[in-house]
Amino acid sequence: MYTSHTQADREAMLKVIGMDKVEDLFQSLPDEGKFPELALPEGITEMEALDELSYISSVNETPQELISFLGAGAYNHYIPAAVDSILRRSEFYTAYTPYQPEIAQGTLQAMFEYQSLIAALTGMDVANASHYDGATAVAEAVNMAYHNFRGRRKKVILSPSVHPQYRATIHTYMKGMDLEIVGEDLESEADPDQLISLIDEQTALVLVQYPDFFGRIFDLTKLSEAAHAEKALFAVHINPVALGLIKPPSEFDADIVTGEGQALGIPMSFGGPYLGLFATKKQYVRKMAGRLAGETVDALGQRGYVLTLNTREQHIRRENATSNICTNQGLIALASTVYLSLLGKNGLQDLAKLNYHKAHYAAERISTVPGFMVNPVQPFFNEFVIHCPIPAKEVNQILLTHDILGGYDLSQDYPDLSHELLVAVTEMNSKSEIDFMVEVLEEETHD
């Protein structure tokens, strides 16, 4: 299909090789099992494939068909057309990792700018060129902290209000480490200061999310101080759009900042590929995993960029590398780079405020429905928990009959939060969508 060997080519090539037929190329393979008859269909043409895939995709229901208030780690944001127009440039998407900098400055400069933007956004000294997603970025923070103390500190303090899937990922990643995780068994909606009492000299890392999984914004100053008092590292997982409005974690003296970059111009795409943000302080740069582009000059004195500090990485250090990561999220990082470049300072601020105002409007309106309650005290960004008069699962079912995705049913991860629904509101939700949801709630839960 995408091969182009003519009969003549094949014959000429075999002759040079000194073989009669292409099957001879596979003489060193075991005879048994060679050339299996695969139980797969024959290939189809591009035109048929598009037809089939279009059909399959049409079976899914998108925000065109469903009003969506689902967030919980993936957000429906507007993606400027300019972002995809750059991503479609095949000089970017059909290039490999920039191993030959003389002919890869496009990729390298984009990486360097990505690092610069993420550092600026998080307030940190340095950012790497990406991890797979928010979950693995968080897991790599644990990995980094563990190795920072050469495995000698054996405790990680993990807030229960870190995304449940990220916590699950940490548990998987740390299977091979001699580490204990504490904190998750606090009450589900514990506030960060409740973690302080768990910190001790065995603590390698204290890890919280900001805004947390429930959308709440807490002052992390005390927690950070407490961690640092015991010389533990302090890691904060952020929502990058929120940082258009609220203080960066650097102001809490975070040592590591991770984030899920999907909100920065990446389609929801059923969960991936997303973008793991990872930034740290300069002093930890050699402990950090992942690729780094660094500025330098070429033989002509021209400024340019190369992959640097490779000695941290698996292809040089093998089993002693800071991580096993090799392929990262290059193109997705580029998308976020273009996105942040377009929005810039004022755009991100405006966007963050817009999300904030819409979410607060929604929260206020929903609170007016009898039986529904939103915590009136704790500041939140664009996501919040509503306490429902009936199980959240049932609320969602009711809403779905009206073509609304109500939110994330928290009982899936927090058995005690059976009546709690996590609702996200972005710039994509119009006032009338919010009003419609409130109307449905009013009508359908009224009895």
């Binding site: 591009e46 895939l53 429906n76 990792t97 002919i103 496009g106 409005l245 090799c326 999220q329």
Partner: protein, 490 residues
């Protein structure tokens, strides 16, 4: 040719995209938490586009020219795959939607699992891993979990051949394994004696790559796997080189128990300048229960009137979750499109022509470039970029010189067991004319190496940039744009 950074293009109060004014009453902002400054660049849309368009042109890429980068399978990325992945019904769905609203996506994932299983001979496949290394981590954790489920807590020794990719030992180390490096024999195979010597009751398994990173099909593979199995170990397969085996041989038949695929190599999904990839993991029957959660299953087959129904399940003994959500769905759509268009015969053709192309180049250059392990290769081969009569020339010089002819160089300095390695993977999508031009250039460069080494030392001179000072980069450690103090106001 130096292009300013996006920060340097910034001027206060410019903007590249606007958002609507709020259509809701304004809420009070959380004063205590407000950010004071946000040092992001301020650039209009046209300048952003020009900037990224300009820097993009500094890249070599598959769509620009030949890219025979060993171990990376830089095949052509079909354009239709880019379209199907962007269909709104795929790109706009939320990962946590109720499964009844995303049956198309689940069905596609299930089909992809089935295709990969059929191609590889494994009994189940998880699409969760994000890349090859992530698949390795997943796979090694499955091996670990398997041993522990049997009470074999001491099985923590992982054998890794010296020719292995760096991610192999690194992944094993991350999974808490102790790594023991295995030497290769003089034919580039696993050294069976060395292997035997390590087979004891602490053996967790072995990580093999076959075809290995020399591009050779390991002639000892059946014996090696048998040995490991006999001693209670499991065999991990690094599937980065599956391009040589599609429709030719199923890895499970060799005795591999767990293997990752690189959809971004074998299945034509674009490399994106470094990623994203997708590294599904296939396992034999006995290991199914350990796969990461969730996995897509068909809960009802469907019939003429009713579609099949799909759901997520959590395997009983799962190692857990290795990332959020369900894998790189957008990449999986591309790979699925690719498999559909190829079908069984097309897949087999991929392997046949990948191997034919590699052997053709090898045959044409072997008298001039020393091939340390010379035999029929698979989809790639490793030559040496050095000659006795060109003492000052290293493989890197050959590579840099190739740039002057518009070629991306082969992989350098990998695998580590070959001195001054030039690892050449032609891929199946290139024409004979391209291969011939590349070979002719390789031969010319070899000649220059001996007769005009300065040309190689100074190369490249026809690229937009000359060689870079990598030492300076590591010393200065400038890892982000240096902003002037008054950046926000200037």
């Amino acid at each position: 040719m130096t292009e300013p950074t996006i920060f340097e293009l910034s001027r206060p109060n410019r903007i590249g995209i606007r958002f609507p004014a709020p259509d809701v009453p304004l809420a009070e902002l959380p004063e205590d938490f407000l950010r004071k400054d946000l040092p992001l660049p301020e650039v209009p849309e046209n300048e952003v586009i020009r900037h990224f368009t300009n820097i993009s042109q500094l890249n070599h890429a598959v769509d620009v020219g030949y890219y025979p980068l060993g171990s990376c399978t830089m095949k052509y990325n079909p354009k239709i795959n880019e379209e199907t992945a962007r269909l709104p019904g795929f790109s706009q769905i939320h990962p946590l939607q109720p499964v009844e609203t995303v049956q198309g996506a689940l069905g596609l994932m299930h089909e992809t699992q089935q295709w990969l299983a059929e191609i590889s001979g494994f009994s189940a496949v998880s699409l969760q891993p994000a890349a090859g290394a992530h698949g390795e981590l997943t796979g090694v954790l499955i091996i670990r979990a398997y041993h522990r489920s049997r009470g074999d807590l001491n099985r923590t020794k992982m054998l890794v051949p010296d020719s292995a990719h760096g991610t192999n030992p690194a992944s094993s180390a991350m999974s808490g394994m102790e790594i023991v490096e295995l030497p290769s024999d003089e034919r580039g195979n696993i050294d069976l004696d060395a292997l035997k010597a390590e087979c004891d009751e602490t053996l967790a398994g072995i990580m093999i790559t076959n075809p290995n990173t020399l591009g050779l099909f390991d002639e000892n593979i059946l014996k090696a796997c048998q040995l490991v199995h006999e001693h209670g170990g499991l065999v991990y397969g690094d599937g980065a080189n599956m391009n040589a085996l599609l429709g030719i041989y199923r890895p499970a038949e060799m005795g591999i128990d767990v293997m990752h695929f690189n959809l971004h190599k074998t299945f034509s999904t674009p490399h994106g300048g470094g990623g994203p990839g997708s590294g599904p993991v296939g396992v034999i029957k006995e290991l199914e229960g350990f796969l990461p959660a969730p996995l897509v299953v068909m809960t009802s087959e469907g019939d003429d009137d009713n579609p099949a129904i799909y759901d997520f399940i959590i395997p009983e003994q799962t190692i857990g979750r290795t990332k959020s959500f369900h894998g790189h769905f957008g990449i999986i759509v591309r790979a699925f499109t690719y498999m559909l268009t190829l079908g069984k015969n097309g897949l087999k053709d991929v392997a046949i022509y990948a191997v034919l192309n590699a052997n053709y180049i090898q045959a044409r250059v072997k008298d001039v470039y020393h091939i340390p392990y010379e035999r029929t290769c698979m989809h790639e081969f490793v030559a040496e970029g050095k000659w006795e009569d060109a003492p000052e020339i290293r493989a890197l010089d050959v590579s840099k010189r190739l740039i002057d002819f518009g070629f991306h160089p082969p992989t350098n300095y990998f695998p580590l067991i070959v001195n001054e390695a030039l690892m050449i993977e032609p891929t199946e999508t290139e024409t004979k004319e391209t291969l011939d031009r590349f070979v002719d250039t390789l031969l010319q460069v070899a000649d220059e190496a001996k007769n005009n080494p300065e040309i190689l030392h100074n190369a490249p001179t026809k690229a937009p940039f000359g060689r870079f000072d990598e030492v300076k980069a590591a010393k200065d450690l400038i890892l982000k744009t240096q902003l002037p103090d008054d950046y926000l106001t200037s």
